[in-house]
Amino acid sequence: VFMYLLSTHKDPELFLWSRLNEFLCTLHIILHFRLSLTSSQPHTRARGVQLLSEVLQECYGDLTEREVEVLIAFYENRLKDHYVITPPVLRGLKALTKCTVLPPGSAVSMLRSLFQDVHVQSLMLAERACVYNMLINLMETREAELKGLGADFVFGFVQSMDGERDPRNLLLAFQIAKTIISRGYDLGKFTEELFEVTSCYFPIDFTPPPNDPHGITKEDLIQMLRAVLTGTPKFAEFLLPLIIEKLDSDVQSAKLDSLQTLTVCVSQYEHKDLAEFLEGLWVSIRREVFQTSSERIESACLAALTALTSCLSRSVLSSESEDCLSTFLDLVLKDCKHHLSEPDLKLVWPSAKLLQASCSASIRASHVITASVMPNIVEQYNIWSHYNLLCFPLCVFPPPLEDSVFLAYRESLCSMVFSALSESNSSLQITATSVLTSLGQQTGDIQSHMGKKSDLGHICLQSERSLSSCFSQTACLPSALMDQDNTEASEKLSHHAVRQRCLSALAAVSVHPSVVQESTPVLLEVLSSAHTGKTEVVLACRSLQRIAEQVQDTEETGRCFHEVIIPRLLGLTLQAALQGVQLPQEYEAVLSAMVPVISTSCSRLQPQSQQGSTWRQSQMVCLLMGCVCSLPPSVRIPQLDELLSELEEMSCTCTHTLSYTSAAKCFAGLINKSLQGALVLQVFNLRPCSHFVAKALLVRYHPLSTTLTDKLFSLLDNTDLGSMAADGFSLLMSDSADVLNRACHADVRIMYRQRFFSENSAKLVQGFNAAPQEKKPNYLKALSNIVNKLPKQVQVTELPALLSLLLEALSCPDGGVQLSTLSCLEPVLADPPAALIQQLEALVSRLLALTSSPAMDVRIASLRCIHALSRFPVLPFRAQVLRALARPLDDKKRLVRNEAVQARGEWYDGSC
């Protein structure tokens, strides 16, 4: 019935799917397929199998082990059938290989029949891919079973892929081959076959067609193939001759690929794999390096040589085998060494590169090569003095190298370096300097040896004078010397003599500004490091002094000295002085050593920097302030009177704001703590300083403070200074962060503000009433400054007396006065005194007027006050206020509108 339906249905496949639920068991499907599957027409059979395979591709996960077994038997049998049936059979088998319930042994039997009955390379592209995918699937899940097949599996695979041409399938085949090698399948006697069938593609020559949809690149293939070929040392005997052969090729990419493959493969090999091919490989590599014009090939050659040497160095020798490394290095040396002594120098550089490449492979190799080459180089250098030769030692000595390697040559090396430094060839000098730098980084004897060359600094100096262009390069020398300093410091050996020479060399070198910027930090480092003794500090100071004397006089160095060195020196001195760790006589010596540094650098100031220097120095007063003003009163400050008069002088005459403010603060801080009567106050100029002084006295209830504050009050009438004097009251009433607070041990009495206020409020009101109209704002400003800082309790009790003045202040045109009056009114309004209720009408009208002030802050503050007023019995004003508040609702500033919305809401609300 099913088959009838199937055959009559327009779309049998769709029909099958729709009915599949009814025939869940796949065995049933086969049963019902029997008709088509047993048809005598191969194409009909093929269609039947095709349908079955497609079903399996969808539902291989649901099959049971028993079903899989039946299906595999069926498919294996179908492989023997007509060739048109093979493609769908393979597709079905591929689906089955993905089954997790594959019965044991079925993978082996599947592959046996596959290898036996199918000739893979006569299949179409897609079917070949199908076979490879089957293998990949089975290798992933049934590794143990496949290994049970032994070498037959490898043979079957070799046969299957032999002749493959499509790059997509090749990628799959290479992947299988790589897995075979890396998972350790038994290659048996088919090692060479497997190598042959893959290596025939080497070197890869593939250009993807334009618009290639598969996106396979030549590089993909190269990498995959390389992974196969270099995967096992078993291929060594076949691969190495192949590489040697391909190195002869004219194709650049083939050479490059060969060299890269060689570099990769030797990392897997041991010396015995390489032994018989070493000579051939070396000949090819040498030829390439000597002849090639391509930099890529050259660097690939050198990398391969390094890899080769390091492979040989790594191998463990048995008692009877010869030492391949020394054999190989002998080869290298034999071919390269004589070029070093050739007069035409053509092959010197390539030879040096080859030697350097072998050297860098291992310590053993570099020992052998250095020992053999160094005498030659020294000798040749004495004859030719060519810088290529000088480069060699630099390249040869990688930093961690044991110094024993060139211990024997250090004399000659140093003399080479020094003679090179005195040459006029700039590149030679630069190279020499870098050699010197790397020598300087070596530890131990080399240092003391270099130290003995007391003319080092002299030589450096000369070389630099002779050649200004290499200044920047030579600037690295001080850092090398610094490294040396550090290693020595950590060794804690008594290398004082060496260090001294280093320091003086450093000073001698520092002529050019750029060098100075490198060298002075080193010296400062020495100065500040914890374990420097007195002599070294003094020495470092001398070096700095010498630098200050000899350096080219430019603005740049001047800045360096004045912005970095001198402040640092002062800082260090101050630190040392405050900590008091050093012995007095040591400290004296250090101090006296510092004096010439500062004096020298200051005496050489450029005119343009001199102008600025007075304030640069004078602003240091703030440091002094931080120091002396925070001392507890019990500490006696020597020469206090002198200091005070200096400070006073400075605060009155200096034009630099920070300087005179600091001086005044310092002065105030000092007199606040000094004994009563010990000071004589003179007449003050009006500067912030007088406020500081007044405050200093005020906070300790000094009797003289009244005199000063009266003076300040009287200044409110002054046309020029009145406004400034009014501002000063804010200073008088507020806490200051740096001086005159309790943390600085200042003498601050409690409630000094209240006291000041209660003593002076009457004076203020009086002064206000007496003052001419144009001076009244000064009084209002002073008043708002004072009231603002008072505690709220005091404000509330004092307000009645001042209310008329405050209301006056609200109509004062000065925005600052308005703002500070509003901000002191607002908290008072929360709990209003009776006096205020009587003045309500005046208050409301003034506040409403301020809501259209040009300043946003004032508008906001006045709206807040109006908001606060809504709690009062305000009914008489309600209509007026609500009307007036309509305007700020349309203010251009959102913050103002927010306040207006809230205030108006409250006024609507509170009035019910």
Binding site: M856, D890, K892, K893, V901, Y908, D909
Partner: protein
Amino acid sequence: LVGGGAMSGGTRLENANPVIFQRSGERQLTASEEDDDVHDPIDDREIFDILSINDPEHPLSLEELNVVEQVRVKVDDAGSTVGVEFTPTIPHCSMATLIGLSIKVKLLRSLPDRFKIDVHITPGTHASEDAVNKQLADKERVAAALENSSLLEVVNQCLSTRSV
């Protein structure tokens, strides 16, 4: 206009356990808002912030009950129009008119006179949507409602920002 008695009784709440939505955070203060010379236009968020008023049934703001959402507030500062759609918590909410009235009053009090204020129910969220909208749109009835002192008291109670 509205059954004022429903409010004062408080014997049974219509929607005792409403879904509560998170408040949007405080508006971020920008530098231009602090600049005295820049003109800040009235925007949706500002209106929305004005409307964070209390629901008559719950001690929660209209925002938390999702009655008013910022996306349903449309303001045109230049054209001086404001449109607010509000969503009653349940479709039969008898307080819908009162809520609408409160919103309208709040806006009348908080916005400059130049604005034309339109308050209505989010379409499709209330059983007697049209009737309520009509009441809210009728200037005379709004004015009359505000003459009614007991009603005004309820409205003011809604609008009060002081703790309830």
